[in-house]
Amino acid sequence: MPAASSIGAGSLRGYQRRVIPIIEIVLFAVFVAAPIVLQDYITVFVTRVLILALLALSFDLVWGYSGIMSFGQALFFGAAGYGVALLARDLQITSAFIVLPAAFVIGLIVSVAIGAFLLLGRHPPTTIFVALGTLAGSYVADRLARDWYYLGGQNGIPSIPPMTAGGYEFAEGPAYYYLTLTVLALVYLVCRFVVRSQFGLALAGVREHEARIAFLGYEGQRMKLAMFSLAGAVAGLAGGLYAFHEGFVWPNMLGVVISTQIVLYALLGGVGTLIGPIIGVIIVEIASFALSDSVPKVWPIVLGLLLLFAIQFAPTGLIGLVASERERVGDFGRPPLRPRHTDAAPDDAAA
């Protein structure tokens, strides 16, 4: 029997150019340096971009990595935002060590409940069923918040005090920016670890052929629920950060507009890679920031056309223009090895 050890030297790991790690390093280096060179009001704007990037990352986890089309990420975002706003308003709890974990847990609980309902049927649900189910959840939550007096109705909950850590207040500007960046970086690293693990390989199998993977022994629907819940928790974390950053929460945070916006941003950047949706959010938000004042009437049309072109001509998003499919899908096993000797070629007979 030819032993595996005969497959010897010559790792193929470096056989192709990898661009995603370079983009990741450059982008996070720019994020770290940004407040040093930017004026404070722009830092506040970029903080908002980072929070939306976190939300886009949560959508990427469900659609890009698990094949679940969710139009309801704002539901988890807004629910956690309202949850921490109530903690601050009614219980005067503003400690980052409590409100951020609370936001994470609220997002997790809501997403587990919605996900279990939508995903754990006897048969795998269709994409359209889950898309409409999440969209309906987001819409219902929006309407509920608008009509619930305790939640402030149409006006939401205003005047949320700043987030604190001990005696320190995270005011708008560089302090809150670095707090957000730290959360984004940690979430990014955890997600990277998960999607590149053997669990990530199983997810790739679910994404490619869910019906087939069941015959290998995988419970695809449960795996999807796990990722849906993780994504809900990440969206919740984003909602908690957003509530304290803006100082208020309002029903739009739960609604279909943010849910849909995030889908489009992520698709523009490129789902199925963690960095793609972040790039999508950055580009659209910066373009909006720059152009919405100078050409306010034309900008929404330009944005709409840009997204239509991206979906039509670059379905893998902007990241797909620079990273190969192979790099985006990735390798999950140990680096495949090239055989040491190439004289015998029995498999060529079948090629």
Binding site: P2, A4, Q198, L201, A202, E208, D331, R334, P339
Partner: protein, 244 residues
Amino acid sequence: MPLLEVHGLTKVFGRLVALSGVDLAIRENEFHGLIGPNGSGKSTLMKCVAGAEVPTAGTIRFAGQDITVSTPAKRARAGLTLKFQITSVFPALTVYDNVLLALQARSSTTGLIFSRTRAALHEHVMHLLERFQLAKRCAERAAALSHGQQQWLEIVVALACQPRLLLLDEPTAGMSLEERRITGELLMPIKRDCSLLIVEHDLDFIRNICDFLTVLDHGNIIDSGTVSHIQNSRKVREVYHIRV
């Protein structure tokens, strides 16, 4: 006691009776062939056994357990693996990852997240790929393989699930004569490890590797027995006008 016992299996699609009270028994390390003309119910029987279809009536017992309504995943973990008729490898994954995906299926979720079995399974992945002459292609995408090699990869993936009973639905479909010959040679050694239920139209191929044959027609069993018994069965010859 047989490894697989199918009793009174019936499957009805609307007004079409695809299977009508089929009985089948497969012992450990037995290679059992299912033959019959198109539409006789072979693939439906396979799908019912694997869990892709829920039978209308009847029972399926595997290793002493009633699995009639178990999910495919539960059956796979019990040791019952199906290779589909239509090639269904994971095309965007590498050949290596296709096999690793099947091998790691019994790892716990925590074990998968922390990639605890990745290193330990490496030798096993390479051994299986070598056995089916695919080791040299391990770094390539599965989509890049020829049709025959994709069929082999699918057999490797099925074997990687460490089945006690392997269900092969037309494993040589679309293969050249040379590929069919190699496939037969590659399948024989697995008799040590598991039983086989195989649906195949190539009667020479199935006669060479199977111990027992069951002949189906219109959802009913026409005859069942050893290869020589079926070869000499007048009933089979009369019904199908073929020499088995």
